[in-house]
């Protein structure tokens, strides 16, 4: 008979074996098989097989319940022992728990931050199909990237590209972002008053509290408010159909939307109809493809490949915009791209805008993925340091625990049980740390929010998934940190250990040393990072900018003065605390427009440059220096004269630009292109953030301007400001003076850098503290181990200082090695960061040395407590028990 046919059903046996938990249970299978054969003789093959299946099906649940029950009993035992061991070693446990919980708290906070950063714009419906259309603008000599695009892109796409389901435009007032809104005699300064197409809400699913999304923006005089804004204006009264005055016109509130979450790149308080903005209407009528004045958002149809769609965009510009571009740029001939100009539009996924887009004219200052990576790296370091502490302390204590392990083994413990015992211990510690970490994170959240400029909450912790994640996290940390010590200690040979010959294994010491080196390398890199960041930010703050930014009061929105501008300036000059007064359309740091000019030398290409308008007194008031020619002056009519900066002179390639001229490059029937003569060259000054190099600049003369700059002299600044405010009131009674100080405005350009600097400082401090806590614990154990040796040395006449030096020597060696490893790492890492600044300091050797010195000092201070204590101990105490 076939051997196989004699066997019980293989499927059932296989199932049983899969679930079987230990080898012993295989005997059950044997019992069953034995009975199966007996039954077969009696009931036949089918009956026996049926019985066999029944046995397996009924046995498995019982076996599983049994296994779980006994696992629970063992676990209770492990837990009990773990808690006792933790309670017995108070100092050790405290160091571990404090270290781990701070590490974990950091982890939480950073995770919250990172979660917030990556969650930007995720709340919009169909967000994965929404893209912003951004512009790569190539000029003959350089390329610029704009977040904005031409007014023509949206209508062209809607009319000719079926891939596009919907397209809409959003506009921000670039030059005068602040709008004065008047509601029932009260005035408000609104800096988030944006303007959109009537189909805006078809693309962006904002929730409407009142009003109809389809008609909310269908007339030029309609405005949509956020809930917050509506409450600010009208309290609890319904806002709908109320009238507000905004800038020059009257608006009717057509709808109220829910407040926009913080994590959106579209940050808006009031949304008006784009048709209210005159120059946009003009641009649309002209078919303007040249000026990137607004943001274009498209929602592609489902199933459309964004890459393929993007590939069609250059062709769109060629087909629909080439003629207008040629006319506007003043280029004759077939193809304007031959002269080196190009408008290449590309798609930015909505979800990527916040972290991946950093172009000109962004809607708001975006985050940076680099910074997110940096933080994640930092937190990984901190967690690593705390885990290393754990491992170090555990291995340092292994001598102590070796006896315990020896006794346990003699009593019949398996190695597996010991490993489980130690792992339980470390998981208990990490769980306690977890609880503490949540508390710490909660305590420090406001501080962290202040540092990072966010409004994060710990609310997510209550989410069951997050809870499970946290517990899993504690488990993983416990396993990671406890894994190595568990393996090493449980492997000890009981006979050696109990004879007392065991001190501490060479291998353990090596590992410990390597881990200490890693910790201090990290600390050193972080310290040098902190020092360099501070130096760089200080450099930026104090760099010679080409003008004097101190004591300059900036009057914003001075356009409200209208024809009284000159009179206002004259009155300010008469005030005692004011040294000089001038006006401009854009103070340094503000938005500088740009334009295209044709040099009078026909061989030279068209010239794109930033432009600004200043009055006769500006150069003197801001203490700029002329390197050639003259500044604007009352004695001349400078309306057709310009000053250029040194960079512009270099770009134009003229050694002596004074006397040359630039012609406007416009092609407009109503307007004739004007020609400007260069009368002077001003020394380069940083009119934009120091992240970017100084760009070419052409300066026009004009007495009007939206900004008045007043240089204050010595004296009571408060009084002077009050006096300026009074003067303003006499000219513009309906609203108060809006002012700032130039140096503060410029500082604001580096807010993101300062925030990263502050966060870096805080976490560096923490990392170093944690490393020191670990070192303290280790020093406590290693010096404890050498107590006898030191006792003997003292008896033989060693001095206290000698012993302290002896004890410090070993750690010093480690820290020196750490320095050797950390220095190149810090050097390259920091150079990479500094490369993001156009104006930067160098990573100095002195700074690295300082970082190393600081680390060493801190390590010495940490271990000094232990070494001094040991060195001062009376040798009788350490030697009496032998």
């Amino acid at each position: 008979m076939n051997r196989l046919r004699n066997k019980p059903p293989p499927l059932a046996a296989w199932l049983f074996r899969r679930v079987m938990l230990n080898e012993e249970q295989a005997t059950i299978l044997g019992d069953m098989e034995e009975h199966y054969h007996a039954l077969r003789a009696e009931r036949g093959r089918f009956g026996a097989a049926l019985w066999y299946y029944g046995q397996v099906a009924l046995s498995l649940p019982v076996l599983i319940v049994h296994a779980i029950y006994w696992k629970g009993v063992m676990l209770r035992n492990y837990l009990k022992t773990a808690v006792r061991s933790i309670a017995r070693q108070k100092l050790y446990s405290a160091i571990n728990i404090v270290g781990l919980s701070f590490g974990m708290a950091c982890c939480f906070l950073i995770s919250l931050y990172v979660y917030d950063e990556v969650s930007y714009d995720k709340f919009f419906d169909d967000g994965e199909r929404i893209y912003r259309i951004a512009l790569e603008r190539r000029y003959p000599d350089h390329t610029r990237y704009f977040a904005s695009s031409s007014v023509m892109v949206t209508p062209t796409l809607l009319a000719n590209y079926p891939d596009v389901e919907q397209a809409t435009r959003l506009h921000r007032l670039f030059f005068a972002p602040q709008v004065v809104v008047t509601v029932d005699d009260k005035t408000y300064q609104e800096s988030r008053f944006l303007w959109a197409d009537s189909n805006f809400f078809d693309v962006f699913s904002f929730r409407f509290l009142e009003g109809d999304p389809t008609t909310a923006l269908d007339a030029p005089n309609k405005v949509v408010l956020t809930d917050k804004t509506a409450r600010r204006y009208f309290g609890d009264e319904p806002a709908i159909n109320k009238t507000i005055m905004g800038g020059a016109g009257e608006f009717v509130v057509s709808a109220v939307i829910e407040d926009i979450p913080e994590n959106s790149h579209i940050d808006v308080d009031l949304l008006g109809s784009m048709r209210a903005i005159g120059y946009l209407e003009t641009a649309i009528n002209q078919g303007n493809w040249v000026s990137p004045w607004l943001y274009t958002y498209v929602r592609l149809r489902e199933g459309v490949d964004p890459e393929a769609f993007q590939a069609k965009l250059p062709d769109m510009v060629q087909t629909y915009g080439a003629d207008q571009i040629k006319a506007q740029l003043g280029i004759a001939g077939e193809d304007y791209t031959e002269s080196g100009h190009a408008y290449t539009y590309f798609l930015q996924p909505l979800h990527d805008i916040h972290l991946h887009s950093n172009m000109e004219v962004e809607l708001q200052a975006n985050g940076s993925i680099t910074y997110v990576y940096l933080l994640v790296g930092l937190v990984a370091f901190i967690l690593l340091i705390s885990c290393i502490n754990f491992v170090n302390l555990a291995t340092a204590r292994s001598t102590e625990r070796a006896k315990e392990v020896g006794v346990r083994k003699v009593m019949g413990s398996y190695r597996g049980h010991l490993i489980r015992q130690f792992l339980t211990e470390s998981i208990v510690i990490s769980s306690i740390s977890l609880a503490l970490a949540v508390l710490i994170a909660w305590l420090f959240l406001p501080v962290f929010n202040g540092l990072a400029g966010k409004a994060l909450t710990l609310g997510v912790v209550a989410h069951p998934l997050v809870m499970a994640g946290l517990l899993g996290f504690a488990l993983v940390v416990g396993l990671l940190a406890g894994g190595y010590p568990a393996l090493v200690i449980s492997a000890m040979d009981p006979t050696t250990v109990l004879k007392g010959a065991f001190k501490s294994s060479r291998r353990g010491i090596w590992l410990r040393n390597i881990l200490v080196i890693v910790q201090f390398s990290i600390s050193m890199v972080l310290i040098s990072g902190t020092l360099i960041a501070a130096q760089q930010l200080d450099y930026i703050r104090t760099k010679q900018l080409g003008f004097d930014k101190e004591n300059v009061l900036i009057v914003k929105q001075a356009g409200a003065l209208q024809t009284n501008m000159e009179a206002f300036k004259d009155e300010l000059r008469a005030l005692p605390g004011v040294v000089g007064v001038a006006s401009t359309n854009a103070a340094p740091g503000a938005f500088f427009g740009s334009s295209i000019y044709a040099p009078d030398d026909p061989d030279k290409p068209l010239f794109r440059t930033n432009v600004v308008t200043i009055d006769d007194d500006y150069v003197e008031t801001l203490a700029m220096t002329m390197t050639a020619g003259r500044a604007f002056s009352e004695e001349y009519n400078d309306s057709l004269n310009v000053i250029i900066n040194e960079t512009a002179a270099r770009a134009l390639g003229w050694d002596d630009p004074v006397g040359h001229s630039l012609r406007e490059s416009i092609n407009n029937a109503q307007q004739e292109a004007r020609t400007f003569e260069i009368v002077g060259v001003v020394e380069d000054f940083n009119f934009q953030s120091l992240h970017t190099e100084i760009a070419p600049l052409v300066i026009f003369n004009g007495q009007q301007g939206n900004t008045v700059a007043a240089r204050l002299g010595p004296g009571d600044v408060q009084q002077t400001i009050a006096a300026i405010g009074e003067t303003w009131r006499t000219f513009v009674p309906e609203r108060a003076l809006l002012f700032s100080f130039l140096d503060q405005d410029l500082d604001a350009l580096y807010q993101a850098d300062q925030a990263s600097g502050r966060v870096l400082n805080a976490f560096t401090l923490l990392a170093i503290l944690l490393a020191c806590v670990g070192l303290f614990g280790m020093a406590a154990y290693t010096t404890g181990q050498r107590a006898k040796e030191i006792g003997i040395r003292k008896v033989l006449g060693a001095s206290v200082t000698g012993i302290i030096l002896l004890l410090s020597k070993e750690f010093t060696k480690l820290i020196v090695i750490a320095f050797v490893l950390a220095a190149p790492l810090a050097y390259f890492g920091l150079n990479w960061w500094l490369d993001s600044f156009a104006y930067r300091i160098d990573v100095g050797v002195m700074t690295l040395a300082l970082a190393g010195g600081l680390t060493l000092l801190m390590a010495w201070l940490t271990i000094s407590y232990q070494s001094i204590k040991t060195a001062l101990t009376n040798p009788i105490n350490s030697l009496r028990d032998e």
Partner: protein, 108 residues
């Protein structure tokens, strides 16, 4: 003082009776014949394992035999604790029943 459960008592008695021949198949057969209780092999093993963990029986793994598909048997044996526990429930039984008048079934 904790007494044996009836289940445990039945199993221990069976092991005691079978002496050197007490392993899964024989124990199950014996319990079925005498007490009419039908164990699955899984449940039987679990009950015996619990008795072993309580220290009432010891397990000895014997070499595999071909009729068992190459798997070993576990022989069970009573420990002194196991015997004592049996003694206890027997004493309890006797004490409780002593002096009880004849029980009669039904209305008789």
């Amino acid at each position: 003082m904790k007494y044996l459960s009836r289940n445990d008592e039945i199993l221990l008695l069976s092991i005691w009776r079978l002496q050197d021949a007490a392993y899964g198949v024989t124990i199950r057969q014996d319990v079925l014949e005498r007490a009419g209780k039908k164990f699955t092999f899984g449940a039987l093993w679990v009950s015996l394992d619990n008795l072993a963990k309580k220290g009432y029986v010891t397990k000895t793994v014997a070499d595999p035999t071909p009729t068992r598909g190459g798997r070993g048997k576990i022989y069970y044996r009573l420990t002194p604790d196991g015997l004592r526990a049996l003694q206890q429930v027997r004493n309890l039984q006797q004490t409780l029943w002593a002096g009880i008048p004849q029980l009669s079934l039904g209305s008789g």
